[in-house]
């Protein structure tokens, strides 16, 4: 029970941190925030309009709210297994993320 409780509270914490960061990013500079998060404008609007109470409620889930953006296993393994220096891997990851389609509602 203890360790599962720890895991749940970690998930809640990550969810809350993610939502608060996402809100700050889209409120500071909407388009740049959308780019960093990889989300559509509609989604950015909903996230930025959430109240703190709504945010806290939403974060209290047993599953993570943010999605892993390298969701193609072949691409992910190309990225991590190629024997490149760290900077090249970072550039590569940045190019792949920049060119991805955004997360949408619906």
């Amino acid at each position: 029970m203890g360790s599962s409780g720890d895991t749940l509270s970690e998930i809640k914490e990550v969810n809350l941190s993610y939502l608060l960061l996402a809100q700050r990013l889209v409120r500071e500079d909407k388009v740049t925030g959308m780019f960093r998060l990889g989300i559509s404008e509609q989604l950015a609007d909903v996230i930025s309009s959430m109240t703190l109470a709504q945010t806290v409620k939403l974060a209290a889930a047993s599953q993570l709210l943010c999605r892993f953006r390298f969701d193609d296993h072949a691409i992910l393994s190309t990225l991590i297994h190629s024997s490149k220096n760290a900077a090249a891997t970072q550039s590569h990851a940045a190019i792949l993320l920049a060119g991805q389609p955004v997360e949408q509602i619906g």
Binding site: T32, F35, K84, Q90, A94, G99, V102
Partner: protein
């Protein structure tokens, strides 16, 4: 000359200042604002302490297809496309936002930016006039800059398959690639 808006002028000056600070050449400023050449030169001198450099802008597309410039430019252009397609930014604001993100990425990687603002802006114009295209890498599915009408199938990008010399001695290699790119460009200018 009727209806000259002070607010619009103030906005244009703000934009010009931002562009100059990011490294814009005079031609870019003239194209993107309605401020007079004299005012732009004055603004440039005030901000930079020197006169704006003279001479023509680089106009060869070849530079963007050489190894290191291709990686940097592809990152910039993908970001630019996001700003236009998803963020509905107008072109010059998309250039500014994408360029700031590009500089941030270079700082993160502790690398010198290879792509200057004016060249980034030229890149967008090359795409607008259909001289360049984005081609997907068949391994990583990332999008990379290529000449228009180049084959689109079975292309492997410069990051999945770096040229043998690339990154051996990082600084030397990047200097060399840059020198080669400049040479190619000068040859292009001579030929034109």
């Amino acid at each position: 000359m009727a209806g000259k808006s002070v607010v619009r002028e103030a906005k244009e000056i703000t934009l010009a200042i931002e562009l100059i600070e990011l490294g814009a050449r005079l031609q870019l400023l003239e194209a993107e604002t309605n401020l007079s050449r004299d005012r732009l030169i004055k603004l440039y001198k005030e901000l930079k302490g020197v006169s704006p450099p003279k001479g023509m802008l680089p106009f060869s597309t070849d530079w963007f297809t050489t190894w290191l410039p291709n990686i940097h430019s592809s990152l910039f252009y993908s970001t630019y496309r996001f700003m236009v397609d998803q963020g509905r930014c107008d072109s010059i604001m998309a250039v500014v936002k994408a360029y700031r993100l590009y500089l941030e990425q270079m700082e993160l990687q502790d690398r010198e930016p290879v792509l200057g603002l004016t060249r980034a802006w030229t890149l967008v114009r090359f795409f607008d006039s259909g001289m360049l295209q984005m081609t997907p890498c068949c391994r990583c599915h990332g999008h990379f800059i290529a000449h228009a009408h180049d084959p689109q199938q079975h292309i492997v990008c410069g990051l999945c398959q770096p040229p043998s010399r690339a990154g051996k001695t990082r600084k030397a290699a990047s200097d060399k690639m840059l020198a080669l790119a400049e040479e190619a460009e000068e040859a292009g200018v001579m030929a034109a």
